[in-house]
Symmetry: C2
Subunit: 626 residues, 2 copies
């Protein structure tokens, strides 16, 4: 088992060396001529000068009659002047002024028309109501300088100036080569052990947003000769080559060898996490980059390196991302060895931005779909404490962050359904939810890290839900409990219940999958263990924690576990058998301060909508008082 | 000569009535299914749920060996454990975990491999180095809610969740019908009286930026039957129809009649300037809008009405444009009858934004290519004074405005050349120049409305240029004069000099075209009139003012005038004959405060560059000390 070691080059050094290297290798823009009509959004490679005046003749600016201004001098309210057919010509807006005329009388200003004679009561001066040659543009005027980004208005000005083609910077073409024996094309259906290739779709869309085109090549298996051929072909057809995966140091990772043999390997291994196993090199003037196989790692390298490479091609500085100061909603620990990038959701509470870290796994692309910001933890920093103020690169407008409703606490698919109903009513509101369990919700509301908390907390003594916890944790009040839904909790087991699990006590001796500590479902589990005098040590998998009901169901469906506690709708979704245990109350805890905020009101109105009732009926296992 | 009168409906009323009307008529979005791979930038019409877990099987997260975790328990530095071939399986990242394994030992953590046996010194726990089913996404999880704008990351998440197609809002198709007898297709060469049709290119690019597609139809002449047929065809093929021109009240303006006869005319005539003669109507559920023929008028209606119509189709609120407070650099007068839109350049001087109004003609599309902002003068307001603080809608980032170098004063094409050289060196700097003449430059620098002023001011007593004016207008100093170029001024006359004009005195008896009051060239003209004891009243056209040398040349070329004073390069550009009068010094006046600013330095370095020398040699008539 071969194993190469990667370097751990700090990002700044890697970038400085590599960009210097590719510039010296001759990586720079090409140009092309395109029709002015279709040039919107492109970047000019050279200044554009008008070839024609606009207007290119003296044009009537109005509908009316063209006259020789001198013929109208002296006309007034008391001295009307009449012009015969020899002394005026009817003109429409845009018509060329006839010979021997130098002004236009507007149709509204003609007093009368009789036998071809017109009468006026005011003079016009030379060039009145006339667009003189060159009013807008004169031949030879520079319409736009080099490197101007063409707007719709420029398309018009180019044509107005008689410029039918403009020289623009050719979009760079990035060749994207997906690799890996386990990867299959995204139009196929994956078997076990096969992964749909989606990275190329992500990168090609990112490149397009940065002004680059891309060619996505067929997936290449982990065979050195095939990979070499693919790189050579892409090199001959593209301005830059991206190899997806194969940049690590595993037994099938040939990228670094290929780059070294065909060209120059500049950097292999960057001190960032995720993203470490990146390869930066070039073959002749063509940059060749090996991206890590995990989507989140690769996206980090795309954003940190490839985006700037596109900027180098275009010879523009990449805009710095906007940052805001935010309070960190949850402690993060980090390695001293790497600069770490952590995606966060954001919202504004009590005038402060709150950043809540999202899952950090390199394979979790949904951390990017949910992220509103990214924080960087420097190399040589062990982590950041909850409550610390940090700088966050924002991925959206501040306004959108201010319109984000932060819901945290217990997981239930109904939160997404409410968010969807809400979004359809008011597209400006964004719901960001995180699953920290019911006790997490109480903590977040207490410390001002969420607008709403979702809870279902059973009081072991009374058998009632939620209220006693509020009394305990908010002795001075300040929060409102809004009733949500009733839902059925029970045991999820494989279809047909092959292990014959019929009551909670039956979980002993089977592989159990648990919810995380602090979740209402875990508290229910503990309550049941106590109620039935069971012993935690007898439960195989009590520490095997998942964060959502669907994750529990997915693990049972996959055979990773035999049984788990969860809600009916999750069992139904996964076609599992379900042994009901109890009904519980899933409610919303709201800080009194936000009860009248537009965000909260919109949420509660979606919760009370008919559409929501229809949706929970479809999900199954819920009921709601109207 | 027919003449309809337009209404003068205030914009807010026109919008409220019309948008209410089109919503009731049933104007709303259609949906379509598209491949997730190509969905970036589109808007979801429905929520997207994962159809597959991601990963959809337990996958090795590392290159290494898959084992049953229990087999490794007890391994330590002092108690190595050896596993034979039956108890481990080699796996690559992404491989499915074999039956009866639940953890992966990283290749780096294997101490040795011998005869198929491996030795380790640390245990792994269950699911260590494994991406469990659903780590990223569980089947049934909502990946994105309705109306989400799809990002590159969502393209990846959809595919990761096994969703190969998504339902998005179909882009609305706008039918654009250019009309008018004087209009010709943009691929033709215009004769006198013909205008290249460029509005459709501008609007189709604007629509594309707002998320709409467009079909541009052939130009329709001003014939009612042809226009009616064209509208019917476009109505049957598009979601919205735009008729270009024909919305005024002139003799050939049929749009309002056609809309009335085929559907409903809602508004004809809006109290905005430019933009008044707009028509808002609908045929069945299809909005039909008549746009004014002048590009600036039509663009105002596009921005104020059509943009919001696209928003209504998509069911999103149109984002409000960002505004800044700026000091008005020049007085503007406005009509009490209309809300007026005036385009402005912007820059920052002494910590304040300065807005300088651009030409206001409805035909001047370059006012949009030069604008960095737009000011609105309310109906019932007569105008705004120079120095007043006003609100400006900005059309670019504030950062770009801060990087704008404001040059004002005398016109010379070399300013654009310097701007182009500068832009090629540092794409972040923007030069905004306006032509207010040399005396205007002195005034602007004195009152802090420009960074640099371009001047060529002749002292009649000494025959010297510029310095004596500085001594007079800046008695306390505070400015620096930077030498620019020497250039030749003279008389421009038609090719072959048919009127035999050989010296300045010869202009008497011919049609003269003048530069504006306050320009250095006008001062030169006055100096020459005095020198040769001529009488202003004898000069036919002394009040016929143009603002640039190229505009003077264009008017002579077009036969609007016989002779004018200007620089050699303009005469050369227009292939005119040129009678040299004198050499003059065209210099730059700089407020001392900005002499060391990066913007000024970049400008002066471009002025001193070899490339600039090459360019002025090409233009002709210039010299510069190195």
């Amino acid at each position: 088992m071969k194993h190469n070691y990667l370097s751990n080059t700090p990002l700044e050094d890697a970038k400085a060396n590599y960009f210097d290297f590719v510039k010296k290798s001759g990586f720079k823009f090409q140009t092309e001529k395109i029709n002015s009509q279709k040039s919107n959004g492109r970047i000019l490679a050279a200044p554009v000068y008008a070839k024609l005046c606009s207007p290119h003749y003296n044009a009537s600016a109005m509908d009316g009659v063209a006259v020789w201004a001198e013929d109208t001098y002296g006309a007034s309210e008391i001295n009307h002047i009449t012009l015969d057919k020899e002394h005026y010509t009817e003109v429409d807006t845009g018509d060329a002024l006839p010979e021997n005329t130098d002004a236009v009388i507007m149709v509204e200003d003609i007093l009368s028309e009789n036998n071809g004679e017109i009468t006026i009561n005011a003079p016009v001066h030379p060039w009145q109501n006339v667009r003189q040659v060159g009013e807008d543009l004169c031949m030879g005027d520079m319409i736009a300088s080099s490197y101007t980004k063409i707007t719709p208005y420029f398309c018009g000005a180019f044509l107005a100036g008689g410029v039918k083609q403009v020289e623009v910077i050719k979009k760079p073409v990035f060749g994207i080569i997906p690799t890996g024996d386990e990867i299959i094309a995204p139009d196929k259906d994956p078997e076990k052990g096969e992964i749909l290739e989606f990275n190329s779709s992500v990168f090609s869309a990112m490149l397009s947003e940065w002004g680059a085109d891309s060619i996505v090549y067929d997936i290449v298996p982990d065979k050195k000769e095939l990979l070499t051929e693919a790189v050579k072909k892409a090199k001959s057809e593209c301005d830059c080559v991206l190899l997806l995966a194969g940049s690590s140091a595993g037994r099938d990772d040939y990228t670094s060898e290929i780059v070294s043999s065909l060209g120059t390997l500049c950097v292999h291994g960057i001190a960032v996490k995720p993203g470490k196993p990146a390869i930066l090199g070039a073959i002749d003037e063509t940059p060749v980059i090996g991206l890590p196989g995990y989507p989140v790692s690769a996206i980090v390298i795309m954003n940190e390196i490839v985006k700037e490479l596109v900027g180098i091609y275009y010879n523009v500085k990449i805009e710095e991302e906007k940052t805001i100061k935010a309070v960190l909603g949850k402690r993060v620990v980090s390695s001293l060895k790497y600069r770490e990038y952590i995606r966060v959701t954001l919202g504004k509470i009590d005038g402060k931005y709150i950043a809540v870290p999202l899952p950090r796994g390199a394979g979790i692309i949904t951390s990017f779909t949910k992220a509103l910001g990214v924080i960087e933890i420097p190399q040589n920093c062990e982590g950041i404490e909850q409550g610390d103020v940090i700088e966050v690169k924002i991925l959206t407008d501040e306004k959108n962050i201010e319109n984000a409703l932060i819901i945290t606490g217990s997981h239930d698919p109904i939160i997404d359904e409410i968010a969807d109903i809400l979004k359809k009513k008011d597209n400006n509101i964004l719901v960001t939810s995180s699953h920290v369990g019911s006790m997490g919700a109480i903590d977040a509301i207490k410390s001002g890290r969420a607008h709403l908390g979702a809870i279902h907390l059973l009081d072991e003594k009374t058998g009632e839900y939620n209220q006693s916890y509020i009394d305990k944790y908010f002795p001075n009040g300040g929060v409102v409990l809004k009733k949500g839904v009733k839902r059925i909790q029970g045991l999820m087991v494989a279809k047909g219940n092959p292990l014959n699990i019929n009551k909670f006590e039956d979980i002993v001796g089977h592989r159990y999958v648990s919810r995380q500590r602090g979740s209402g479902t875990r508290i229910l589990c503990d309550y049941l263990i106590k109620k039935y005098n069971m012993n935690i040590d007898d439960i195989n998998g009590y520490d095997n924690e998942e964060f959502t009901h669907t994750a529990v169901a997915a693990n049972i469906k996959a055979g990773n576990a035999d049984v788990g506690l969860g809600i009916y709708s999750a069992a139904k979704m996964y076609d599992l058998d379900f042994i009901p245990i109890c009904d519980e109350e899933y409610d919303f805890l709201i800080d009194e301060k936000y009860i009248d905020s537009p965000l909260t009101k919109a949420f509660l109105s979606a919760l009370d909508s008919d559409e929501f009732i229809e949706r929970i009926e479809l999900l199954g296992g819920y009921s709601k008082e109207k």
